[in-house]
Assembly symmetry: C2
Homo-oligomer: 225 residues x 2
């Protein structure tokens, strides 16, 4: 009985890693789609989010079945409840990648991103993808040091976000309001995506160290935004 139980617990962990990989790939592809104004790629990212949603539903179903049948306590219970939260973070990250792709589709055949911001958006997209790749690694390895690295990466994301806004606010901005609105939303999507990746990693730290959940909710920061 206990063996089947731990197998089921492992499979929930595997499901989380699958979700993290899918949404990491999605944010990378969505970034390419928006920079290249690639409609086909955008459509594929939009369609692929269903896979993430299905994975989450499946994972939640298994977590609830496990709670009902095995009635875990202490650490095991904490793992299952925390997994539910991580799956919500990952599902939401998938939505955000989809938002980027939808913006690409909305502006096609134009690119939503003006040339002088390509480099910044590319960096935000790459950083978001790296953050999620590290979050997946943290789920697998339970490496607390690696988890803490994600916070530094997130600081880098905040700097990029700030740079984006400085660019927007610059008197020399010549791309008009529509593009300013697009870039504002885009910046917000990447920032929130990164928050969720950090949140996933912090929840693993909580499981390993028992450190309080206070530190663990994604912090959307309006300053500089």
């Amino acid at each position: 009985m206990r063996d089947a139980y731990h197998e089921e617990l492992d499979s929930i962990g595997d499901g989380l890693v699958d979700m993290a990989r899918l949404v990491g790939s999605a944010i990378g592809r969505a970034t390419t789609a928006i920079l290249d104004a690639d409609l086909k790629l955008a459509e594929s990212v939009i369609a692929a989010d269903e896979k993430v949603d299905n994975l989450q539903r499946d994972l939640e179903g298994r977590a609830i079945t496990l709670l009902a049948r095995q009635q875990p306590v202490a650490t095991d219970l904490r793992i299952v409840v925390t997994s539910l939260r991580m799956s919500a973070d990952l599902e939401r990250s998938g939505d955000l990648a989809q938002h980027v792709a939808k913006l690409a589709r909305l502006r096609f055949p134009e690119s939503a991103v003006p040339h002088d911001l390509h480099a910044t958006i590319l960096e935000m997209g790459q950083l978001a993808q790296r953050l999620m790749a590290k979050a997946a690694e943290v789920i697998i390895s339970k490496d607390v040091d690696l988890a803490l690295q994600l916070e530094q990466d997130d600081d880098a994301m905040d700097l990029l976000h700030r740079a984006l806004f400085q660019h927007l606010m610059d008197d020399r901005w010549k791309h008009g309001i529509e593009t300013a609105v697009d870039v504002t939303l885009l910046g917000r999507y990447y920032e929130r995506f990164a928050d969720h990746a950090v949140s996933v990693a912090k929840r693993v730290v909580y499981l390993v160290t028992g450190e309080h959940a206070d530190e663990m909710s994604p912090q959307g920061d309006v300053e500089g935004a």
Copy 2:
């Protein structure tokens, strides 16, 4: 034993209602703060979010204790797990109200909202507050019809959001980029706040009817944004 259990379950429900009331009040006050450029009110909204966070932490702790001690199954288990999700929606709604207040603080002594958009933002703020008041009522009454009303209210929010963007995109927009960025973010905050209120109500519907979780995740919609 079962009595103490149902008392505990009820108190989790009460905690959710308290959270919904606090964040409903917060979005109302944050809206007043940003429209009137009232720094003191903004600060009070920002400070009050800690209460919401504490309520959530408390509620989660009690839910986990209940899972461990009482090991509920079937409907009771579903109630506890769904409560955890609702508390996450409400905590996030509190963050969004705080974001509105932070924007008010950031632009003080100016108002972040130009005069010709006061009426729209006021309407969005009021609608957000009403949505959350109804969500609280749905938690108490478990009234499925009322829960379904929230979706219509959310359609009204989408229309307001769209109107806001049309105004932004209008060639006659004369408030510059910074204000366009502020208004873009503000629109997003209200829209997401409404999504979370709808999500809370839908989760109650799920508990009552067993309708699938597919319909239940908040849908951020980039179209028109």
